[in-house]
């Protein structure tokens, strides 16, 4: 909960922003690699260990310790570069980024500066209308993560108002790959959507490469959003001659939704500042998911002189072209090809496939089908009830408590005739509430479609007898009136009947089928 009492900053209506300004974005994504050990030492990287139990002289920065590069991390970095159509450096080095912060054991981060391992790439991102937007990738480089701090004493658990902090260095030294885009130009009104689609596409790509868990809510995929506005040119072809405006960097963007919302918000905030005649303060801002605004963080100044120099404790990394080709052979299917294949396998129309992509559900459906769901069933659940709930809760589909396995199980229960649609919805509610897997819930609640034709027949007879006027209408041929009777039958059967069957029986008995 935010107890930020700072006054809300003015914003401009989104449509108005675009009349006067052209947005330019830069997206920096940090990927936490899923290697077994850290970037420069052999400590384990598993999530959830007791504090300060996955540390050693190297990652704790003890005097005398020295780093040694993790070969698997280099391979992952190269594969990421290949997937992003980058050039892979023939020779590159690590560099020290020097600054003081308690979660940094050496008070420098071993990273890469002007010699990254991957550079000059691009990612073609499909937007909701089916068009493709090319996001140019400037570079991707290797670096190490910092420790984690708990801030004690403040109201929000954040730094403001804390009286001391507690640091756990388990995370310090975990390998990261930072992917930096070139300034993203020409997105115009679609900038927020492009940003979201890029991060989503990147996430899917990295998942397919199996280099990371890419869970934004767990921090294995992090996104910083940079945004600036420049005046909109009269002639669209001359837009890129207009110099870039001052940019702000926004952190704490923890979901795809947040990416889109944060870009949108910053656009409206920058416009308000510029419209008032003031200039944008170059600073780092913090995104608040609950209130949907950014607030001022740290002012960027020359105090950020990182004094980069080549890391003397490490030697250059020079991937041979042979090694690069070996790694290229391990690359998964390119995303566009894969999507076409899946669409064809699943029998979806172009529109259906696009909706699925826009909802970020391709992987989820793929995994559900792999777990046994029918393509139609998987799409129905993910794009129907689950998408609706995700939207209400303000979360990404992938971050729900429902797994592809659950969906497959649910689909099977319906397909086997054990549950009807409304029963299945009940079960889904229960699964979301954490009551267990679909089968477990159905068992616990004794949900079972009644197969007993005699019981159904008896219920139909009873309902017909109790509703002579309606029955009469149906008998006359007003088939639509059967609806009320079907409803009554379902009620009598406590919902545990096949509605279609009930309808058939009613019509048959009334001689109207």
């Amino acid at each position: 909960m935010s107890t930020d009492t700072r006054a809300a900053e003015p914003v401009v209506d989104y449509a108005e922003v675009l009349k006067k300004y052209d947005p330019v974005m830069g997206l920096e994504v940090h990927v936490e690699l899923n290697t077994a050990t850290k970037m420069f030492c052999g400590c384990a990287t598993g999530f959830g260990a007791e504090p300060n139990t996955q540390v050693c002289p190297v990652c704790l920065g003890l005097p005398g310790a020295l780093p040694v590069v993790n070969a698997a991390a280099v391979d992952s970095a190269i594969r990421i570069g290949l997937a992003l159509n980058c050039e892979i450096a023939t020779w590159c080095r690590f560099a020290r980024k020097n600054y003081f912060y308690p979660d940094m054991p050496k008070n420098f981060q071993t990273s890469q500066y002007d010699e990254p391992i991957d550079f000059n790439g691009y990612l073609d991102v499909e937007l909701s209308d089916g068009s493709t937007f090319r996001v140019e990738i400037e570079r991707a480089h290797m670096e190490e993560d910092t420790g984690k701090s708990l801030h004690i004493g403040g109201a929000t658990g954040r730094i403001h108002g804390a009286d001391h902090s507690l640091v756990d260095y388990n995370r310090a030294g975990i390998p990261l790959v930072e992917i930096v885009t070139r300034p993203i130009l020409g997105a115009g009104a679609r900038a927020p959507e492009v940003a979201k689609a890029y991060v989503g596409a990147l996430r899917d790509l990295l998942k397919a490469l199996q280099v990371s868990d890419v869970r934004m809510e767990q921090g294995s995929l992090r996104c910083d959003v940079n945004l600036s506005l420049r005046p909109r040119a009269q002639d669209p072809d001359a837009q890129n001659e207009v110099p870039l405006g001052t940019r702000t960097e926004t952190k704490n963007v923890n979901s795809l939704r947040s990416v889109e919302a944060a870009v949108r918000f910053e656009m409206t905030r920058h416009a308000a500042v510029l419209n008032s005649g003031a200039s944008i303060l170059q600073e780092t801002r913090h995104w608040h998911e609950d209130t949907g605004v950014t607030t001022s963080g740290r002012v960027k100044s020359d105090a950020d002189d990182y004094r980069y120099f080549p890391e003397p404790d490490l030697v250059p990394v020079a991937p041979t072209r042979q090694r690069v080709e070996e790694l290229r052979a391990t690359m998964p299917e390119p995303p566009a090809e894969r999507r076409h294949r899946l669409q064809s396998d699943w029998g979806y129309s172009d529109m259906e496939m696009r909706d699925v992509m826009n909802a970020g559900a391709v992987m989820l459906i793929e995994e559900s089908v792999a777990a046994g769901a029918t393509p139609a069933g998987a799409r129905k659940w993910w794009m129907g009830e689950l998408a609706r709930r995700a939207s209400v809760d303000g979360r990404d589909l992938a971050d729900f408590g429902v797994t592809p396995g659950d969906v497959a199980e649910l689909d099977a229960l319906v397909a086997s005739g054990r549950l009807n649609d409304s029963m299945a919805r009940q079960v889904l509610e229960a699964v979301l509430a954490g009551e267990g897997s679909p089968v477990a819930v159905a068992d616990a609640r004794g949900l079972q479609l009644v197969e007993d034709d005699e019981a159904l027949s008896a219920a139909v007879d009873a309902v017909i007898a109790a509703n002579p006027e309606v029955a009469g209408k149906v008998a006359e041929g007003k088939v639509a009136a059967a609806g009320a009777l079907i409803g009554a039958v379902m009620k009598q059967m406590k919902g545990q009947a096949d509605a279609a069957k009930a309808r058939e029986l009613i019509l048959a008995k009334l001689g109207a089928s």
Binding site: P63, N98, N107, F108, S165
Partner: protein
Amino acid sequence: MSSDITRASAAELADRLSRKEISAVEATQAHLDRIEAVDGSVKAFLHVDAQGALATARDIDQRRMAGEELHILAGVPIAVKDIATTKGLPTTAGSRILQGWIPPYDATIVTKLKAAGMPILGKTNMDEFAMGSSTEHSAYGPSHNPWDLERIPGGSGGGSSAAVASYQAPLAIGTDTGGSIRQPAAVTGTVGCKPTYGGVSRYGLIALASSLDQAGPVSRTVLDAALLHSVIGGYDPMDSTSINAPVPPVLEAVRRADVKGMRIGVVKELGGEGYQPGVRARFEESVQLLVEQGAEVVEVSCPSFDYALAAYYLILPSEASSNLAKFDAMRYGLRVLPEGVEDPSAEQVMAASRDAGFGDEVKRRIILGTYALSSGYYDAYYGSAQKVRTLISRDFAAAFEKADVLVSPTTPTTAFKIGEKINDPLAMYLNDIATIPANLAGIPGISLPSGLADEDGLPTGIQILAPATKDERLYGVGAALEAALVRRWGGPLLAKAPELSTTATSREVHA
């Protein structure tokens, strides 16, 4: 008598131990007694670990009795410069900021010493974080030169050299970033070698300048240095800059000690103006001795060496400013709260602790290094210095086309008095003018005694340099020269050093 033991070289001790003439406990106790007797005046040690050393010694004696085959140096005691981490023993790097810090791990070289069964007598004094040429910058007070207690024993490894020169240990570990093994050797009449960069593991050595630091042997004879070099050298997977090759054949070279037909290069830029006459005289005589043994002298010129000092004093502070950033009072070390500040922030505590914990020379170099790396100045300072480094390597490469080894006086002067140069940083830096080029290029160098200067009767040293990975040449030429000099002197140079007064009578150990 225990003085027999302490006067013996490591090779002699090893021989007597293997023949069971003496026990490791006797050898260790004799040195512990010597430490008690003289270290009150020499102040070589920051920490003595009698218990640990004797426990190792007892273990070795037991194993030898049981017939186990042991390392040649098993039972030979050794002192370790307080820059190497020793698990369970305090490690301070000569600084207040690490006072009382007990590392949870051993440096690789310490692991090797333990594996060889060498009792570790204790940790020796040094200039704070190895920044200095006199040991006067130690936060714990200077060490004293056994030849004249009012004089410096050299630095930064003055404690190790003084310990060896005063017979408190037959061997010691030093580290050399710009001459910190070789220069103390020269001014104390002992032997010190800086191996090829990457030849000895840096894992566990508290870093000063990562691209220049090397650990190496400190001893009284060339053979002893070779023995120790063989123990500590070799590939270490924990050190990415470590060379994946066997230790060079240093022992073989000592045994051959043959300089016939070797080309000895005298470097024009090292040893001329600014060098004390007595230093130069002994140097020239040593070169002459090599000629008498069949070597040939050639003159070489390395013009970029005139810029070596400048490049060094940019590269070192830059790397050091980054290496020393970890001392911030958050995880270990001294924590000091700023005066008069209620509820200080982490940033304020860091700044107060570092101001209190670091000495003046360290602060100077950190500020200088921070400046040299800052945006706007990088190209002119650090960037340029790295280019000069390339030129220095090229000059060495050209010189080694014409010569098999290069020689020079190790230092421009003999040991100066304590306090003489402490207030003149630049004057202090000039002590390393002959030793620095080797660190910049990563090539190996050794210093051995070349005699006493006429004007003050103090030791002088001759430096021998070899191409990278050819450390054995240092030992071959060194051994040949040493033999000739010892013959001329009628005994080792150290025998001419004044006897130190003892503060306690040596105990005799009964087996």
